[in-house]
């Protein structure tokens, strides 16, 4: 999967915005939004929030987890624990990038948040590589990965799945299939 497609999924997450315009309810195919009243917070998907923000039609309220103290605590937990801690949000990386790139003026301590999120990401990716290696080494058949996010999975997906496939084939060498008609002998 292309990372832009993971980001596309992240854009469906809802954020609170404070609009500076008024508009009736909109009946989108995917559900109703609004009504919009100046100064009154309303939930909209990120893709819409960013569009409004670009046109200076709203202020975006950062999601609850996008907060220096909370993220610091999560970073400590992530560094302390061997297993994956619960992610700040299933789309923490994508939302951080999107909101900080397009609405940093609405997010207090944006630079600190960027660094913290990157730290959390790096710690988790290092763990991910470690578990991938142990999965291969132990030749395991199943792993539970509850707290991994889609973007994290996506960075290693093709490599890990291809490797597992190769390993499977090499393992099948040890129990050669019997009389199967072989076309590609020549």
């Amino acid at each position: 999967m292309d990372p832009s497609e993971v980001e596309f999924l992240a854009e469906k997450e809802f954020v609170k915005i404070i609009p500076n315009f008024s508009l009736d309810k909109i009946y989108l195919i995917g559900g109703d939004l609004g009504p919009f009243n100046p100064g009154l917070p309303v939930d909209v998907p990120v893709w819409l929030a960013l569009n409004l923000k670009q046109r200076q039609k709203c202020r975006i309220l950062p999601p609850e987890w996008m907060d220096v103290e909370k993220l610091e605590a999560m970073r400590e937990l992530e560094r302390r624990e061997e297993a994956f801690a619960p992610a700040p949000s299933p789309y923490y990386m994508e939302l951080t990038k999107l909101l900080l790139n397009h609405a940093s003026d609405n997010i207090p301590k944006a630079d600190e948040i960027r660094t913290l999120v990157k730290d959390i990401w790096d710690t988790r990716i290092a763990k991910l590589r470690l578990s991938a290696d142990s999965f291969i080494r132990q030749q395991e058949a199943h792993a539970q990965l509850d707290n991994l996010t889609l973007m994290e999975i996506n960075t290693i997906r093709q490599f890990l799945l291809d490797s597992l496939n190769c390993m499977y084939k090499l393992r099948s060498n040890r129990q050669p299939a019997s009389a199967k008609s072989r076309l590609a002998d020549y």
Binding site: S4, E7, F8, Q54, A184, D185, Y186
Partner: protein
């Protein structure tokens, strides 16, 4: 050794890992087919001799030539098939009209295959969801914004946007256009997406 020509065809394609299409090697294919004919004739002769005068000792050589025949067959078919996969890719990356320098690399039969592929794909796309149809060679990346800034990399002439407005795509001119309208021209290298 036999089958050297056949493997040469494969190497020629394999060297172009990024999916580019080298010129169809008509001569190479013909030479492989000639080698196959010669191998087959020699085998026919040996088989007859083995039967009529009981020369069972010819069998290993017959078998060896047969292996070579199968190898040649595999190489030629794989060569042709891989080229089809590359030609298929052209439909998705260029659109249905190919530039002359690429068409030039295709054999007449490949051009025919491509024509049929285009037709099948078009009727598939036309049939999606009733009368409307859907062009699935567009929307290759998730949408970001409705309009994008583009720069013209070469003179392309007049271009109609959805509301009927016609604009002139002149080299180095910049435009703010509906994203879905320019996707294909960007892929073809006529326009360049300018990021803000």
């Amino acid at each position: 050794m036999f089958c050297e020509k056949a493997v040469e065809l494969i190497r020629e394609l394999h060297r172009m890992t990024d999916g580019q299409l080298p010129a169809f090697n008509e001569d190479g294919v013909r030479q492989v087919l000639q080698e196959m004919e010669a191998l087959y004739e020699q085998n026919q002769a040996d088989v007859n001799e083995a039967k009529s005068v009981g020369r069972a000792d010819l069998i290993p050589s017959i078998k060896l030539r047969h292996c070579c025949l199968l190898r040649n067959q595999r190489c030629v078919v794989a060569y042709l098939y891989d080229r089809l996969l590359r030609i298929r890719a052209l439909r998705w990356e260029y659109g249905s009209v190919l530039p002359a320098n690429i068409r030039f690399h295709m054999s007449a039969e490949e051009v025919q295959w491509f024509g049929q592929y285009k037709k099948s794909l078009a009727s598939f796309m036309r049939s999606i969801g009733g009368e409307e149809g859907l062009d699935i060679t567009q929307d290759m990346k998730p949408p970001k914004s409705l309009y994008i800034q583009v720069r013209c990399l070469k003179d392309h002439g007049e271009f109609e946007i959805d509301d009927g407005t016609v604009i002139l795509l002149k080299k180095n001119s910049q435009h703010f256009l509906p994203r879905w309208k320019c996707e294909q021209l960007i892929r073809q290298g006529v326009l360049e997406h300018v990021m803000s």
